[in-house]
Subunit: 492 residues, 2 copies
């Protein structure tokens, strides 16, 4: 092994891996937004083959040697950060034996298929055995990664979605929220006025689309590097140079679709803001799925649920759909609190309780302290304690989310970490740019985007999640900022 | 090398290559139909990486040994045909040294870029040097493939597009056309009535699209396995399970777009008709680009320029666009003859002369009998002799087609072979299905599609081009069928 060139060879290899991953990203977007039903089988083969080819390239014996050799080469800080990301990719890909990866992948696909029937039937027993297999294999993988990463099994899973994240830190901030939220919820519910009435639809889909694109443009989305299309489940896909957003439309109501577009635009701005000069290297990618969620929540929940945003939006709605729109009423209709069974429909105040429940349960599942058979009753007890509602059946209870049934155990806490971090970042942006809210009120998002480019997007993966937050806001995650935000929004 | 398993390993390898090639096909469609301009650079990387990965897989030392070993294994006819196609793929990919492939690819890209400026400027001198480089490298490649395939250099190039095609055979049928066409053209021009007038536009694009999809459906296109979209240059892309057609629209005129849709639907029906059980193996692919062109010409020029088709189309046009449409006038407007400078605008009668000119010139270029510097004057002399028109400049002369400037030397004859073969296939279909034309007049294309499925599509690459034609029509290519077709259409 020629030590001098190991790092350079790794850059070439990871660039190639990146091109193939980007090809996959585009094909996944197409699958959701364009592909006719009959293309599914061929597409599955294309994607699986790309996964296999990438896995073989990444886990070949050579890569391990190159990584070791590169460690000893004289590298600058950027190269060192890049090497860290390469090592992370290699470790997560290579540490689990191929047959276990394959068993897990098949167990997840099978479980998800059963879940798609079990949920509408509200029949947990139907999917219990499949889920037990997923949990058993997840534990095996967690045990192996725990060894390799010197982390607890749960942290080893969490690390896939939130690099450097630790349950001990999450426990602390979640505990603070748990102390605060129940009393706060009571206060808000007591003070909340009845929902205002707003102009009724229908809202033609072509106008909804035009409005969405107009707001995307205002937020800074570059249509030379992306598109807006339709898919059953809205998402942000594609590549940093070609970001593909999707939404879905309902003629009877535009607000859910529009807020979805704003949410996905938050993701898109992050991708489009990654440094072009770092393109195709691991350090040039978005920091993580969890930091991505922070960007989308910052745009959707912080910037675009503010009174200033609704004041800006009201005349645009009148122009787009006709009718009489009022910013104050719009805001009142869109920042309401109402406890319910379903996480994805939850408001900002009750959402954390949904997440805390799932976080506790998945930790217990991974630790072997909770059996799959005991999940429904544990769920219902938790809902009663945390939100004060007992699900009438498992369809609106422990069967509601795809995550566990699809093998994504260790992801849930990132939603609430995301909401808290978004509040903290937005507060820092407001301190740095005193005119921020007034600018938003005029539909000028340029100062916000400039701050995000400089403080988040432009760092890509060169900083850890914690370092990124400290550089941008001056401190690690602090639950008090989120609490202040909720007080300001819901009690003033 | 375990001889027993060589063939099985090759099937696995070629299946993987096919999945990657299909991924490329989808990304190429997206590039033309969906991608924003800013995605071009990333997309070029994705496609180039896929090409490199496939090339490395196909030309690795192992494949040569496996191919040799599989030759000695006990294989059935289908496996033997599949092995022949594998060998063909491997030979064309591996016989030319990688550095020559790379030089050629760069020379073609560079030349095409210059040509894009030289054509509108009608400035042959601008591109002469770039084209000379392409021709020089083409000769080198032809010499190498000539050795490996035991063919003349020109036949070695032709073989890439028309497997098994030989210049000697083409010379014979082209000579027969050359004897026939000039006198025939005179007769047609003398007998041709003035162009009839048809209802004027505008023709709204959404209605053009709906009509195109309606006709695609009537022809047998399966929208569960494909789509119709828009691109600057219409084409048929995607994969057999997910065929992506494109067209472009002009509000002022619908016929060119519609005929383009019918042409591409001919391609699409071939892809959708390939045997599903053979999917992902080389023998299961369409026979060649040239056989593909036969399918598109059969639908566009044979089925859909018939009096019966125009009689079926007229009431659909009235329903779609309003106005008074008459099948006889429609036909008269769309099967007119008018000699001109431009191949892609040429009618069915003068088109072969355009092709014969190019065929002669490219043979001379490959043989070294013609220099690039001598091309413009040779072109103009040929046009004068064959069509009776002398181009006023090279923009409407030897600069008009992208093919040579993009490195596709050896392709041109397949257009006229395609037109002749399409006539011969259609004539055979008509003999086999006596109601064929009456069915088309009622918009029922089921019998035509059934005949094509059984006699062309269903064979995929299991037969040679000649064997396919003989099985389907009872004889090898016979210019008299095409001549009869022209006489029937233009002199009756």
């Amino acid at each position: 092994m020629n030590k001098e060139i190991a790092y350079g060879r790794l850059e070439a290899l990871f660039e190639r891996l990146n091109h193939l991953a980007q090809a996959q990203g585009m094909l996944q977007w197409d699958m959701a937004a364009m592909m006719p039903v009959g293309g599914a089988d061929s597409r599955a083969h294309q994607l699986a083959t790309l996964t296999t080819v990438r896995h073989e390239m990444l886990t070949g014996a050579l890569v391990k040697d190159l990584l070791a050799a590169a460690e000893g080469e004289p590298l600058d800080d950027w190269q060192r950060a890049n090497l860290t990301e390469m090592h992370r990719d290699w470790l997560h890909a290579s540490v689990v034996p191929a047959d276990l990866v394959s068993s897990f992948s098949h167990a997840c696909s099978a479980c998800e298929m059963v879940w798609r029937k079990a949920r509408p039937a509200a029949d947990f027993a139907m999917v219990a055995e499949s889920l037990a297999a997923v949990v058993r294999l997840t534990r095996e993988i967690a045990a192996i990664k725990s060894q390799a990463l010197a982390l607890t099994p749960y942290d080893a899973l969490l690390d896939q979605y939130e690099p450097g994240g630790r349950a001990a830190d999450i426990d602390a901030v979640f505990a603070e929220l748990e102390l605060f939220l129940p009393g706060f919820l009571q206060e808000v519910m007591a003070a909340q006025a009845p929902a205002p009435s707003l102009p009724a639809g229908p809202f033609p889909i072509d106008r909804q689309k035009a409005l969405g694109e107009r707001l995307m443009r205002a937020l800074g989305f570059d249509f030379d590097h992306g598109r807006l299309d339709v898919s059953a489940h809205p998402f942000c896909g594609g590549t940093p140079d070609d970001v593909r957003l999707t939404t879905r439309y309902d003629e009877r109501s535009f607000i859910k679709s529009l807020m979805g577009v704003l949410h996905e635009t938050g993701h898109a701005l992050y991708e489009q803001g990654l440094p072009a000069a770092w393109r195709h290297q691991p350090v040039g990618r978005a920091r993580s799925m969890s930091v991505h969620e922070r960007q989308s929540l910052l745009v959707e929940m912080q910037a675009c649920r503010s009174p200033e945003f609704f004041a800006y939006l009201a005349p645009l709605l009148a122009e787009t759909f006709g009718g009489d729109w009022d910013g104050v009423a719009l805001r009142a209709a869109n920042v309401r609190v109402e406890p319910g069974f379903i996480r994805v429909d939850a408001d900002e105040v009750t959402y954390p309780a949904h997440v805390i429940l799932r976080y506790r349960l998945e930790k217990a599942l991974v630790a072997g302290e909770l059996d799959v058979a005991g999940l429904p009753s544990a769920w219902n007890e938790g809902m009663t304690a945390l939100i004060g509602l007992t699900p009438p059946d498992d369809g609106v209870g422990c069967l509601q989310d795809i995550h566990w049934f699809d093998g994504a155990i260790g992801y849930f806490p990132t939603y609430t970490l995301g909401a808290m971090t978004a509040a903290q970042l937005f507060e820092a942006a407001g301190r740095a740019v005193p005119t921020l809210m007034a600018d938003i009120g005029r539909g000028d998002f340029t100062p916000l985007l400039a701050w995000l480019r400089a403080n988040v997007h432009g760092h890509a993966s060169s900083l850890s999640i914690n370092a990124l937050l400290i550089e941008a806001t001056g401190r690690p995650l602090d639950a008090s900022v989120f609490k202040d935000h909720l007080r300001r929004r819901y009690l003033r």
